[in-house]
């Protein structure tokens, strides 16, 4: 199998022109992912990129990898089935805050506790972009939108805290306002053996709030590494995660220093134990034969 000796970010881009609004944060996420993949060096055809529905979920179509732009909120179940069936693949999952924490929110804890080797990137713009500006589960309380003309009455979801509580071994947050930081954490997330979650505060320039734009991010963001945060300490991580919605902390909140084996690993173990001396498929009915 002949591959370009070393791959560039460009090798991971498709020739489909993104339909995102000029300035959309998702351009940066796409760029960061392609850079991380180039650094990792697996060829595009060994990568599967699964998403749901939303502006953000269009992202697989803009990469050269295999992709599945599935249905709203179901990227994680599809990705888990794919990874179990083809453990050799590098499987990325991406989508929006609504896709992941509203309609898809029921799948997240189970993907986390099964702990297969997946990287889940949420492009969290705190709004519904594709459907033109309704409340998202991460929208701040009081926000005025087309579905909350008098202000939202609900306190928002905290993606970082939720996923930590679910027991995720790797949790990070980034923003396209810091491309090197974002690229680095995505690469590390992909390399991490187990379920890795990256919440990217990817601004929606069309429906997003003024204080959630790249320019502002640049000024307000604070790197965890500058706050001598210990990514190996889960309780510290939980406390830092509580700041979602007030502060914009970026970097790795938690990285389990002693991660448990992935689902794929224990499944392979079980298969190896049981495959020895199993009846071939065409003799499977023997189990029902009476003598």
């Amino acid at each position: 199998m002949s591959l370009p000796p070393n791959l560039t970010p460009q090798d991971f881009k498709s020739d489909l022109k993104p339909i995102w609004c000029p300035g959309c944060g998702d351009f940066g996420v796409l760029q960061a992912i392609c850079r991380a993949l180039a650094a990792i060096g697996r060829p595009p055809h060994e990568i599967a990129f699964i998403s749901g529905i939303g502006c953000s979920s269009r992202i697989p179509g803009y990469t050269a990898a295999y992709g599945f732009n599935s249905v709203h909120g179901r990227a994680l179940p599809i990705a888990q089935g794919l990874k179990l069936a083809r453990p050799e693949l590098l499987v990325l999952v991406a989508g929006g805050d609504g896709d992941g924490f509203s309609i898809g929110g029921g799948h997240v804890p189970h993907a986390v506790r099964r702990n297969d080797d997946l990287t889940y990137i949420v492009m969290d713009n705190q709004i519904y972009g594709l459907t033109k500006g309704q409340l998202s589960p991460t929208s701040p309380q009081g926000l005025h939108t087309v579905t909350s003309g008098y202000g939202s009455l609900e306190s928002p979801v905290n993606p970082l805290l939720y996923v930590l509580a679910y027991g995720a071994p790797f949790v990070a947050q980034g923003t396209p306002a810091d491309m090197p930081g974002l690229t680095a954490m995505i690469e590390e997330a992909i390399r991490f053996p187990g379920f890795a979650f990256v919440n990217v505060r990817s601004p929606c320039v069309t429906y997003g709030e003024a204080d959630q734009q790249i320019k502002i991010h640049k000024t307000v963001m604070r790197r965890l590494e500058d706050l001598d945060h210990d990514p190996g300490n889960r309780i510290q991580a939980l406390e830092k995660a509580e700041t979602y919605g007030q502060a914009l902390l970026t970097g790795i909140f938690y990285r389990n220093p002693a991660p448990r084996p992935t689902l794929g690993a224990v499944v392979r173990e079980r298969q190896q134990q049981l495959m020895a001396g199993a009846a071939p498929r065409d003799r499977i009915l023997d189990m029902f034969v009476q003598h």
Binding site: M1, S14, L16, P43, P44, H45, E46, I47, A48, I50, I53, P60, G61, A64, A65, Y66, G67, F68, N69, S70, V71, R74, L76, P77, I78, A79, Q80, G81, L82, K83, L84, A85, R86, E88, L89, G106, H107, P109, H110, R114, V267, R270, Q271, Q273, L274, M275, A278, A279, R281, D282, R283, I284, L285, M287, F288, V289, Q290, H291
Partner: protein, 585 residues
């Protein structure tokens, strides 16, 4: 001597009446009888009333039968709770616990006087043998062995096998209880003998139920991945996978819900592996959206729906055939989804293998519409020779095609070779969004029209698969039956009975419910003046689907009712006779 014996037994949860039935049917298998066993329980999870029917015969057994030949009541309260499920008639032999204190001529069976009623001190014999009433079921087996002439060694073997797991003393005690039952039977010959013809013990037989054989068939067909969520009466399909699939390098996922269940299975199929999910009505409702995704993404997927009483939660432990509309039509947009239905445990194997083959050949989701009766009844069947079955794989792009790959290329037959992650050059992005040949999103009306055409007409060859419908009986008969699923087994017996009574009848049993093979139906209808489409759903759903696609003769009426009201061969014959009258006039 009879060739066919229908035995029904009921007692309270602790009486082990169902395990007696299981010993009996495995004895049947060992002796070479054909047999079928259905169970029924009260709504309690544990305790409460429980019952089973065992039908055994020297010839084929195609349904659980009608009125009981032998009824066994360990107590009357529980027995009567099963009403129509354990019907006693004028020819029935009733064996019952003497302790109930009921006189043989005063049984609590309103209107019916059975041929013979015998009060037996079952509990006393059990106590003598085992020191407890735990032995009742073995006593009952002894009585049946004695009075019906069912091979004692075979039954004893079953009893030994069952209790050996526990301890040796139990084995002896139950052997003793069995012996007492046999002696009692010998000491009290029946006025109306019930001895069954000995079976020609020869070929080994298989003993299984519809759910287990469905899962086994899937594995035979090359299924590597199962994902689903528990739901009665389908859960045993997943349970077999959790025991077996690892042995073949496959995997199973108990998902958090039915949506994740079908989602994960679809993911595995996107990965190039054969995948399946199984559920019942409520789960089918939840899988609707992703079934539509599978259709537009053109990915093979087998979805098993073990029907139960609906709507909604309905009656989870009762059979019904009311998911036809759901299986065929529950999708937004223009979708055609193949739907297959087995009629018994044995052909559940063929149908499941066929479902995988169709899914692979046409890159489509396929529904297998089983039902609670087939899925959970145990049958003794002939051994299935798997060598007779061919296994189909999806068409994959060759090197030439990969050089300039278009996932959804408009081919002559509408089927486009499909790649999967890992295949170099096959890279594409699947989507539920309408797309062009390359797979890129589009909102163009012309492309949409062409892609619908591709997705729908690629299935045309299925409409020509005459082998997926079976016509039985006199091909030129003016009287007709159309039936499917578990009800087809009843109609097959009705066909024989009616023919024996001189009626000119034929029966059409579709295994492929949809798309509709219009030619076969037209041919079948050509001679029909009157008849019935028999199905267990209030709305007579298959009848309506046929009307949609074919002109159904006016004389062919829908004969249907809600689930848990099983059809009996005799009543179908009656209905045919009424119409025979009309039709000859």
């Amino acid at each position: 001597m009879v060739e066919d014996l229908v035995i029904g037994m009921a007692g309270s949860g602790g009486d082990g009446i169902v395990s007696a039935g299981e010993s009996l049917i495995s004895a049947c298998a060992a002796m070479g009888y054909h047999a079928m066993m259905t169970k029924s329980f009260g709504s309690q999870i544990r305790g409460g009333e429980s019952s089973c029917r065992v039908r055994m015969a020297t010839g084929a057994v195609r349904n659980p039968g009608g009125t009981l030949d032998v009824a066994v009541a360990l107590n009357w309260e529980d027995f009567l709770k099963f009403g129509a499920e354990l019907p006693v008639g004028d020819d029935t032999l009733v064996l019952y616990e003497a302790k109930t204190g009921v006189a043989p001529d005063a049984l609590p069976l309103d209107g019916v006087t059975p041929a013979e009623a015998v009060a037996v001190p079952i509990a006393d014999m059990a106590r003598t043998a085992t020191g407890s009433d735990k032995g009742k079921s073995s006593v009952v087996l002894g009585l049946l062995a004695g009075w019906c002439g069912i091979g004692r060694d075979a039954i004893l073997a079953g009893i030994r096998k069952k209790f050996a797991k526990k301890d040796e003393r139990l084995v002896e005690a139950n052997e003793k209880a069995f012996a007492l039952g046999v002696q009692y039977a010998e000491a009290h010959p029946l006025a109306t003998p019930r001895t069954i013809e000995p079976a020609v013990a020869g070929e080994p037989r298989m003993l299984t139920d519809g759910n287990d054989i469905c899962a086994a068939a899937a594995i035979f067909a090359g299924c590597d991945f199962f994902s689903g969520y528990p739901i009665t009466p389908s859960t045993e399909v997943m349970q077999l996978f959790t025991r077996e699939i690892w042995k073949y390098g496959g995997a199973v996922l108990q998902a958090e819900d039915e949506i994740a269940g079908i989602g994960a299975a679809l993911g595995a199929s996107f990965g190039g592996k054969k995948a399946m999910t199984a559920t019942s009505g409520p789960g089918m409702s939840l899988k609707t959206e992703i079934m539509g995704l599978a259709s537009i993404a053109e990915l093979p997927l087998v979805v098993v729906d073990v029907q139960r009483g609906g709507p909604s939660t309905g009656m989870p432990t009762k059979p019904e055939q009311s998911d036809v509309f759901q299986a065929i039509f529950s999708a937004h947009g223009d979708v055609v989804r193949p739907v297959l239905a087995p009629t018994c445990v044995s052909d559940t194997f063929e149908v499941t293998v066929e479902a995988f083959n169709i899914a692979e050949q046409f890159q489509t989701p396929v529904v297998v519409l089983s039902d609670q009766e087939i899925a959970q009844r145990k049958e003794v069947i002939e051994v299935i020779d798997t060598a007779r079955f061919q296994v189909v794989e999806r068409q994959r792009p060759d090197a030439a095609e990969l050089a300039r790959y278009e996932r959804f290329r408009l081919t002559a037959n509408g089927v486009s070779p499909v790649s999967h992650p890992g295949m170099q050059g096959g890279n594409y992005v699947g989507a539920g969004i309408e797309h062009d040949e390359h797979g890129d999103p589009t909102a163009n009306g012309r492309v949409h029209q062409r892609m619908n055409e591709k997705r729908l007409h690629k299935l045309d060859p299925l409409r020509e698969r005459d082998d997926l419908l079976r016509i039985e009986g006199d091909p030129s008969a003016p009287l007709a039956l159309v039936s499917w699923g578990s009800t087809a087994g009843v109609c097959r017996e009705a066909l024989d009975l009616a023919t024996a009574q001189g009626l000119r009848v034929k029966l059409l049993v579709p295994y492929l419910l949809y798309p509709v093979n219009e030619r076969v139906y037209r041919g079948f209808f050509a001679t029909v003046q009157a008849g019935l489409v028999v199905e267990q759903s209030y709305l007579g759903q298959l009848y309506r689907v046929l009307r949609m696609m074919v002109d159904v003769p006016a004389g062919l009426e829908s004969f249907c009712r809600s689930g848990a009201n099983p059809f009996r061969p005799a009543e179908i014959v009656r209905e045919l006779q009424l119409r025979a009258g009309k039709e000859s006039r």
